[in-house]
Structure formats: structure tokens, C-alpha cells
């Protein structure tokens, strides 16, 4: 399927909100590579940015990741080599999705996610479950 690319998507809303163009993305993919929660995500942050640039808005708004990313974590934003405010981008996308009556996909992050994000004692467990092939992590 060939995608028709234009410039009229919600990227404009996002760019206005963050005061920066999404074309700044280097597409280096460090964000997704280092994500501690990637097992629970369907898109990586740089895929969200690329999809927005290609105006594949529905893909992004229907994704699960925008409901999770940047809510309890800023791992990707901290390492972004071009300083894209990924948490803000995701917040805008959630707002836009709600405006379109899109049902939140994943309001409550899994307990594993919570545990190792907030308690140093459990971080080892999180790392272990995360690197396991096929992972134990279940959507809540």
C-alpha cells in the first residue's frame, strides 16, 4: 500500500504546542532502543514522530503507546539527541485522541511497569521480565 504524504495532519497541532518542528527528529531510534517499557508499546517514539510527519494520524491516535509513553517516565526524552520533548508530544496526542472520542487504550500501566519505575528494589525484576523473550508483561 502506498501512503499519500501531505502536511495537514495533527503534526501541526503538536508542533505548535511544543514550539518545535518534528522534522528535527534525527530518526536515530535511541528512544525506542532504550525504552524500559517497549514490551508494552506498539510503536516506538521515533515511529510516532515519523508517522506524524507522514500524516498517518490514525495510526498514531489508535496506538496504545500514546496512552503510556511519558506518563511515569522520561527516559527517551532525557536521551533524545535533538531534545524533542517527547512527553509533551504524547500529552498533546492524548488530548487530540480524546477530542476525537478515541477510547484510551491502556489507562492503567501494568504493575510491573509501576513497580520497577518507582521502587529501586524491584528494578531488577523489571529488567528481567523486560528482556525475557515473549515477556510476561500483560496488559492490565
Amino acid at each position: 500500500m502506498r501512503l499519500r504524504i501531505d502536511e495537514d495532519g495533527i503534526r501541526n497541532v503538536v508542533e505548535e504546542a511544543i514550539g518545535k518542528s518534528l522534522t528535527a527528529c534525527l530518526q536515530c531510534s535511541k528512544c525506542g532502543g532504550g525504552c524500559s517499557h517497549s514490551e508494552e508499546f506498539d510503536l516506538t517514539p521515533r515511529q510516532v514522530v515519523e508517522s506524524l510527519l507522514d500524516c498517518q494520524d490514525q495510526n498514531v491516535l489508535d496506538s496504545r503507546m500514546i496512552w503510556l509513553c511519558g506518563r511515569h517516565c522520561s527516559g527517551c526524552q532525557a536521551v533524545c539527541p535533538v531534545g524533542l520533548p517527547l512527553n509533551d508530544i504524547m500529552a498533546v496526542l492524548r488530548e487530540e485522541a480524546l477530542k476525537l472520542d478515541i477510547e484510551p487504550k491502556y489507562e492503567q500501566p501494568s504493575l510491573v511497569y509501576h513497580k520497577f519505575e518507582h521502587c529501586a528494589k524491584h528494578r531488577g525484576e523489571g529488567e528481567a521480565s523486560e528482556s525475557m523473550v515473549g515477556g510476561e508483561t500483560q496488559p492490565a
Partner: protein
Amino acid sequence: MSKKTLVIGGGIAGITAAQKIAQNGGEVILIEKEGELGGNFAKLAYTFPVLADAKMIVTREIQTAKATSGIEILPQTELRGVSGSAGDFTVELNSPSGTRSEHVGAIIVAAGFHYMEPTAYTEYSYGRSPKVVTSLEFEKMAAENRLPKGNARVVFVHCVGSRDKAKGYRYCSKICCSYSAKHAIMMKKANPDSKAYVFYIDIRALGKGYEEFIRDAMEVYNVRYIRGRVAKVIESGSKLIVRAEDSLIGNPVEVEADLVVLASAMEPPEGSRDLAGILGIATDEYGFFQEAEVNVRPCHSSKSGIFLAGSCTQPMEIASAVAMGGLAASEALTLIR
């Protein structure tokens, strides 16, 4: 020709500039802050895009400089002061034997570069794990025959400190793509049982023979290139886990490794801003010496009579540093004859 030229820095650009001036009848004072000539070139085992013996080449050039009459070489010497103007500078040189004053017509700055210490990259376990090394340390390991033996997996990480506004520099260090390919090839040649992986964002290898060199790494030496910037290196028992996203398939991936080599950025030489202050010349936002005009006057500094050569102006490979050394020499010659 009565006036001398001061060349600051005894790396390949400075050595070349000194040789060319002396071969054309000029007199040169070549100062080097370290005890030996050779600069960063002397720390390498092999060159690219032709795998030649780096030590042999740099030693040959140092010998040529030493054997050329008209070049006075002063190791462990630094510039302390400059006065005067083009064609008529007075410089103050400080060495262990004391301070001396010299009269020179022109000055060539060839202060080289510094490999960034990736201490800010805690996510790569650098400084924590002895199995995470910089490219410069890899060169040393190769020279000392300490590369991993047996069925080892080695991961090379591009853009550590380069193309990274968050933790390093915005610029591309230009040579890392090529030297990482060189390292992967060195690894495979030294230990054909090893597996080599290179994580890249873009492959930038411009110049005669460069693309072929990278392709040889893939086609002849079976080096696996994965597109994605490495995000984490985690210690796991006696191994390392390298995490990234393979962005061509859009999936997070991890590779278990025995050695991780970080291609750390080329940064301005230590103290470049202080040296620029003494000379009264401009540096750019990073601390590299600023050329008067990027395209056609690359070796003119912001001050008449002071010329620039080599990687103290921008990241560059050996061939460009040599070319720039030659150009700076010819500019200096116009002033001292």
C-alpha cells in the same frame, strides 16, 4: 628568506607544514607539547581506507622532518605569549629547559584534536565496565594483541558524543564511520571466529575508496550493520547486553556482547580556547579554530599571519590534515620570503 615560521603541534598536519616550508628554503620552529612527535596519528595501529601500518607511516614522516635541515623541533614546549603582527611576530616559548623568545614571520596552528572521553554516557556503562572501551582504547588493545579471543562478539557503537545535542556535540565527527569499519575489519582479521556488529544512524564514508571500504567490511568480513543508535549497554554477568532499536524493522533488539567499542567524538584539542586567546584568534562555538572563509580560505585564521592546519579546525581524516598542512605552509611562505 630570513624570517622563521612557528608551527604549533607535531601531529601529521604540523609535521607536513614544517617539511614543506623547510623543503622550500624556509626555517621552522616546530613545537610539540608532548615529549614525542606524531600526535593522534601515532596512537593508531592501522590507517583507513587502506589498511596500512600507521606506526610505519608516521615514523617515516617524523624521520623526514628530523632529517630536513631548517626544522628545529622542540618537544615539551608550549606557546606562552605572542606580540607583533604578520611578518613580524615575537613569540615566547616555554619548555622544561626554560623560556625563550623568538622572532617569526608567520605562525601555523596545527594543534590537533582530542578524542572525547564519553564519561557523560553512563547509559553505555563506560567507566563502569572494563569491557566497554573507546575506539582509541581499541587501537591500543589491537596494537598490544589484547583483542578478544575465540568466539567473541564485539559491538561497535557509532555517534558517541557526535550528532548529540543532549550529551555531546551537534556536529558529525566525520571519521568514526570509517574507523569503526576499520576496527571491525581489524577484529575479524585478528580473530576470524569473532562476530562484529556495528550500530549506525547513517553511514558517512565519503572519499576515494571509502564506500568500498565499508562495503568490504560487510561483504568480505561479514560485519553485521544494524540501523539504530545504541540506547543502553547493561552489564550482565560476564557479558554485556547492548540494547537498541533495529529501526529498519522497527523493533527493539538486544545483542549479547563480549566487548563494546564506543566511537567517541573528535573534539577540539584541550586548551584550544586558551591557545586562541594567546594568539588573539577566533574559535567557533565548539572551540575549534575558526577559519576566515570556509570554502576558499580554510587555513586563514581571523588574524593576518596566523594560519591553521588539520583537525584543530574541524574533524578531519589524515589525508585532509596533510593537504591542509601543505596549504598552510604555502601561505606562510608568502609571508616569510
